[in-house]
């Protein structure tokens, strides 16, 4: 993978895991969105983060990305506090709602993000991502001109165009057609093979099945951490809460 994609983790903190959370908590006016949450994700590991709506999955991802400040506990990205220069260099975040500069085209976004993260040989990486994600012909389109699926593809390209050690993805398959889902699965597999720690928040059984580990959250608390065993997960969640489990 040239320029972008996973790079080997070089832990600088107390835990060896590229992503490590201990007693991590976040409350809003007394409401516990996430409470005393522990999680270590190792290099070359794909973790599926599951749970019903409002369980705390997105809160955890935002805390790890440095977009939210914890009210208790701590989280480290490659040994560094989220928001620090080192953590920002190590972490790539693919959020559930894509956002774009209104006056930059898709390719300009990719060039900009690649430059900010000092990706090597960005042109080749950008061409590869555009081609594989089916963004050909949309390179010069502005964000407002893209359909929901195209926006998601552009957002995925933005997450993968730069080097990283940890990838956090919030419902990354939403809005994608089946061929694009297959492409994303193979990209996640390549990213994992290159040594990245990956956390994917999802409700989808195909993502859960592809994961090395499944971490379930309910009411802001860790409900399960183990292999993606449908039988065990079925005991924790109702069918209505988790698609296909």
């Amino acid at each position: 993978m040239s320029g972008g994609g996973a790079i080997a983790a070089t832990s600088g903190g107390r835990s060896d895991a590229p992503l490590s959370a201990h007693a991590l908590g976040r409350t809003y006016d007394g409401y516990v969105a996430l409470g005393a949450f522990d999680l270590d994700v190792g290099a070359a590991e794909l973790v599926a983060l599951i749970g019903p709506n409002g369980a705390g999955k997105t809160t955890f991802l935002n805390l790890a990305a440095g977009l939210l400040d914890p009210t208790s506990g701590e989280v480290r990205i490659d040994g560094h506090v989220p928001g620090s220069l080192e953590a920002r260099a190590a972490l790539s975040f693919l959020p559930d709602s894509p956002v774009f500069y209104e006056d930059l085209s898709v390719v300009e976004h990719l060039e900009y993000v690649a430059a900010l993260h000092e990706a090597e040989d960005p042109e080749a990486r950008i061409d590869e991502l555009i081609s594989r994600l089916g963004l050909d012909g949309w390179e010069d389109a502005l964000g407002s001109e893209l359909s929901k699926g195209m926006k998601q593809k552009a957002s995925i390209a933005l997450a993968l165009v730069r080097p990283f050690k940890v990838l956090l993805a919030d419902e990354p398959l939403d809005g994608l057609d089946p061929p694009s889902r297959d492409t994303l699965f193979s990209m996640l597999a390549e990213t994992k093979a290159a040594g990245a720690a990956i956390v994917v928040s999802t409700h989808r059984p195909d993502v859960i099945a592809a994961a090395d580990r499944c971490v379930a959250i309910r009411d802001g608390r860790l409900a399960y951490d183990g292999p993606p065993d449908p039988k065990v997960l079925g005991e924790i969640f109702d069918r209505s809460e988790l698609e296909g489990v």
């Binding site: 935002n62 977009l67 220069l85 920002r88 993260h117």
Partner: protein, 507 residues
């Protein structure tokens, strides 16, 4: 980052309609020249008597300092909520999450915001200086220079304080305490006749030509401290909380869109969200019953402390500015009307909510126009209270309590109706009604503010004329009440026509 910003700027300029921008600048310049020429001709200002000059020399710095401290308090609170920067969501997502210096990334946005505020502040200060020098000792250059510098430094202080609060992630309570301490310090200066508070020092700068060289050092110190606050704010800008930045990015983008279509109502609702200004869960006093009158008071009785304080401060500021108009220059009479209009927008909230939900309103077994008129009663009474507060403030601040209370008693009721009607017209405006005619849409949006400005200006200007011996008190009072009643009737008619039309269209 630099290259991307330059490219975006080039693209923005390339896409902008240059002729449209020039046309707007041209219209703005013509309007400004016309207003200034009109005011210069209408005012015929005479030199102030030595007693007034002495009073202003001793008290004005502290009074101005209190006003600046109040604005600083607002700036600090905005900073504690993540302001004053409003950056794009994409900037938060891509640039601020990239391993680049956040200080470097955020500084251009801060400086751009500062540039605009400083420019407008300096121009406003210079305009006031242009009128003040006609009444007070000192040359035009001295007054225009000192007030332009003051006008430029106030936004610097406010933005600097807000940046400092957001960069240091001050808690809202701490920010309020610091701002409150600054206000208290200036109040103490006023009481003791001292010039120790940094904001009083800025007041020294504003009145520098009056000081005969007594306090240029203090004025300079005030300016240096202000620039120091800005420098500290810019240095710590990278500490901004991304959570607040992200939230602001979303709300401010919506606010900008609403402002671009002159949708003032949505701007107000979004601003309340931005400030986390929510009604109290437990009212100050619980009222039972379901009449429209009670429903309005139930709304007022759920005002959060910050809204109560804001409306009281608006009343005090309107009274203070009116006193400033008598003592410094009548140009300041243009400010109380728009200030009180802002209070009116808070008071008109229950009616605005009826307008926000037309289906609910149309299902009621009453005519919309009748409902609307019933909704105006409580805000009018509340606005009358606000106006009496303003008159009391003017009586306390100025040296002529009889005049302040006299003007207040003569106009408070018709003026309250005009201000409430203006706020109601604005809050119930449909920004898309004249979407195909933007000039008409802008006129409709601006009209209530202009009416509020005239309604605030008129009684004060007439009182100023009468006090100067130009006209009899009784005819002046009757004349201004007549004009205000006409304006109120026009406002009521406009609202009735608007609601009747909407009801017809819905049927």
């Amino acid at each position: 980052m630099k290259a991307m910003r330059s490219a975006r700027r080039r693209r923005y300029v390339a896409r902008a309609d240059v002729m449209e921008v020039l046309y707007r600048v041209y219209l703005g310049a013509i309007a400004a020249v016309f207003i200034l020429a009109f005011l210069a001709g209408a005012l015929h200002e005479v030199p102030a008597d030595p007693g007034s000059v002495a009073g202003i020399r001793s008290d004005a710095p502290a009074i101005i300092g209190i006003a600046v401290a109040v604005v600083l308090l607002a700036g600090l609170r905005a900073g504690a909520r993540g302001g004053p920067l409003a950056i794009e969501a994409a900037e938060v997502r891509y640039t601020l999450l990239a391993p680049v210096s956040r200080r470097t990334a955020l500084r251009p946005a801060a400086l751009a915001q500062l540039r605009t505020a400083v420019l407008f502040g300096a121009i406003f200060g210079a305009v006031v200086g242009n009128f003040v020098f006609r009444r007070f000792p000192g040359t035009a250059v001295e007054w225009i220079g000192s007030l332009a510098a003051f006008g430029a430094l106030v936004p610097i202080a406010v933005l600097g304080a807000a940046l400092l609060a957001s960069g240091r992630r001050l808690r809202i309570g701490v920010a309020t305490a610091i701002g409150g301490a600054l206000v208290a310090w200036s109040v103490l200066d006023l009481a003791l006749g001292s010039n120790s508070s940094p904001t009083t020092m800025l007041g020294d700068l504003a009145t520098l030509p009056l000081q005969h060289g007594a306090s240029p050092g203090l004025a300079a110190l005030g300016a240096v401290l202000t620039l120091g606050v800005l420098a500290a704010g810019l240095l710590g800008i990278g500490g901004l909380a991304l959570e607040a930045a992200q939230r602001r990015a979303q709300l401010v983008a919506e606010m900008r869109f609403s402002a671009s279509v002159q949708d003032l109502r949505t701007v107000i609702l979004l601003r309340r969200q931005l400030a986390s200004e929510r009604p109290r869960r437990k009212p100050w006093i619980r009222l039972r019953g379901g009449s429209v009158w009670r429903r309005n008071w139930q709304s007022f009785l759920r005002w959060p402390v910050v809204r109560v304080v804001r409306v009281v401060l608006i009343a005090v500021a309107a009274g203070g500015v009116a006193v400033g108009g008598f003592d410094l220059t009548p140009v300041l009479f243009v400010l109380p009307g728009p200030l009180l209009f802002i209070a009116g927008l808070d008071l008109i909230e229950p009616l605005a909510q009826e307008s926000d939900h037309p289906t609910r309103r149309l299902l009621l077994p009453r005519g919309s126009a009748e409902l609307l008129r019933t909704h105006l009663t409580a805000p009018t009474v509340a606005m009358a209270v606000v106006l009496l507060l303003a008159a009391l403030a003017a009586a306390a601040i100025g040296g002529n309590p009889g005049l302040a209370l006299g003007v207040g008693v003569v106009v408070f009721l018709p003026l309250a109706v005009v201000l409430v009607c203006a706020a109601a017209v604005s809050a119930t405006n449909d920004p898309y009604e004249f979407a195909l005619n933007p000039q008409l849409a802008q006129t409709v949006s601006l009209a209530p503010i202009v009416v509020a400005l005239i309604a605030g200006f008129l009684p004060l200007f007439v009182a100023w004329k009468v006090e100067g011996g130009d006209g009899a008190p009784i005819s002046g009072a009757l004349g201004m009440d007549f004009v205000l009643i006409v304006l109120a009737l026009v406002g009521l008619a406009a609202l009735t026509l608007r609601f009747n039309k909407r009801e017809r269209e819905a049927q």
